[in-house]
Amino acid sequence: MENLMHLFEGFNYLFTLQNIGVTMIGAVLGLLVGAMPGIGSLAGVALLLPLTFKFNPTTAIIMLGSLYYANMYGGAFSAILIGIPGDGPAVMTMMDGYPMATQKNRPGQALLTSNISSFIGGTIGMIILTFMGPSLANAGLRFGPAEMTALLLLAMTSIGWLVGENPTKGLVLTMFGILLASMGMDTLSGTPRYDFGNIYLLGGIPFVPFVIGMVGFSQVIRLMGDRHKETQIAVKKLSIKESMITFHDLKRLLPPAIRSGFLGTFVGVLPGAGATTAAFMGYAVQKSFKSEEPLGTGAIEGIAACEAANNAAAAGAFAPLLALGIPGSGTGAVLLGGLMMWGLNPGPLLFTNSPEFAWSLIASLFLANIITLIIAWGIIPFLIKILSVPTRLMIPAITVVCIVGSYSTSNSMFGIVVMFIAGVLGYVLGNAGYSTAPAILSFVLAPLLESNMRKAFIISQGSLDFFYTKPIALAFMIILVLVILFPLIRLVLTKAGVMKKK
């Protein structure tokens, strides 16, 4: 109750013309930057940080918060419309968003599903942040390397859902993704690893150009065969009304969005996990629930699960940042830098020493969530116009976006080289029946898994007992074993007549 009063006070500080104005500007800029492939929330917040210099600390951090938050919405736009994820979390949104927009001819509904799910996930995350922020942050701190290893191993099993028709091919690419991620500087020992004497490989393979190439550029190469088709889809009317989802769609969207809202907030609180892991886990969890259509074919449940999870994670990440002064992600680190620049020291005393600042920031997230939803909803008709552009005109446009986006992440031609190689590789592998999704997802999770696993081994002096002596890790390991054994258990139960045959 006390926190609710503080939140209202936060709204009181927030409701000045200047603060509402900067929240709106932040939301619009965040949406734009988020939709640009290659920029992402980290680079977006960092690039737009100077815009906040002119304001007082409270107004400045309100703008930064809304910028960061709107970024999470924007990443899904290009993933749904042109099949190029704007940032890491949008990789999962693309799995169902792009087929729903192009194959099912429901681009407006795909975008609206993404927006509403983001809103639901974000709202759940913020409510949890308001009432349980500090205690959640403390719970997050109980996740040491052993617990994180068990959690990430559990997350890794979900790649099994994405391997496609041939599990062996899926396994080859999963391992390939992990090996690619292991190139560059070893974070624990500082040793250059698998750099083959190349100075660019010292920093590892950059994620965004890799994803742009594997997913975006490879798809443009494939589109060359469809150049003479009139349009990718037939967009009939371009109105907000035409983009509305039905009541049935809403009923399909709500359960995964609410579930992922809670899951995403929890993942967001964990150190280093971030929105991409949250989106990935949200999608994986949805796989074990019933969906009206199979995931990956344009299912509303798929979009809702990952979009709600990534926005909830964005809100959850504020808990350790504000309550403990620990950034959960790269973007969190930039936000922390911004706070310190204005002389604020996030930590347990922040809520006592600068309550107006802490609570108006949380209130601004609520406001940014609503404003971003309205703006994102309003621009849907203009966005889906992109799909009515003939393929032969889209090819050079998307190619340019791939090149410029890849360059922008590192300000280096190496980004373009990575995008090009990943694109050609993605095209060849895709044509040969190798699904590239496992490679991308293992590429994201592998560094986290490796560093946590090695730390856990160092702490336990090489013993595997950390998997069963720590209660949280043990719980995750039991779930992991059950997940792995579930097909076998189902087979036995089906044969025994306890379960019905699918």
Binding site: F217, G225, R227, L393, Y407
Partner: protein
């Protein structure tokens, strides 16, 4: 007649590039290189320090080696795929942009690519070509250069002039 064409197509496919075998073979080579470097250069385990930098990649490489061998064994049952030559024009164009960037810079290279692609390759009218060209360049220059301030490479010629 139809059967003959089908037979010729199948023979063509059989004679084509054996990509189904090449991919697992590349997978085997990559895993062998990673295992070798892992043991020889980075180390697997240290009694006192625990897992070394090669620990995780070696385990993964071993799994990849096994998976690639299985994929190779099963690949002979799969049919080869056709690779339309037309599709390779785009990667070649990107290579062209990459090379041209070192001489005239990234933005002029992109501009030339868009114009040539639309006018010469797609045979679009001047009106369509210029409209698409202006939209693409407005987004690139407006958002990435003016707003976000991305320093795109200017190429040898502009660098020489500036110096």
């Amino acid at each position: 007649m139809g059967r003959k064409v089908k037979q010729m197509d199948q023979e063509k496919k059989k004679k084509g590039f054996p990509i189904m075998q090449v991919i697992p073979i590349v997978g085997i080579l990559i895993s062998v290189v990673f295992i070798y470097l892992g043991f020889a250069k980075y180390g697997f385990w240290d009694t006192f320090k625990g897992p070394r930098p090669g620990f995780f990649p070696i385990i993964i490489s071993c799994l990849m080696l096994v998976a690639s061998l299985v994929a190779l064994a099963t690949s002979y049952k799969e049919e080869n795929i056709e690779w339309p030559k037309e599709n390779w024009i785009l990667p070649l164009s990107v290579l062209g942009i990459f090379v041209a960037t070192f001489v005239i810079g990234l933005l002029p290279s992109i501009a030339i690519f868009v114009l040539l692609w639309l006018k010469k390759f797609e045979k679009c009218t001047w009106k369509t070509t210029l409209t698409v060209f202006v939209i693409i360049m407005a987004v690139v220059v407006g958002v990435f250069v003016l707003w976000l301030g991305i320093p795109f490479p200017k190429g040898m010629i502009l660098d020489a002039i500036n110096n």
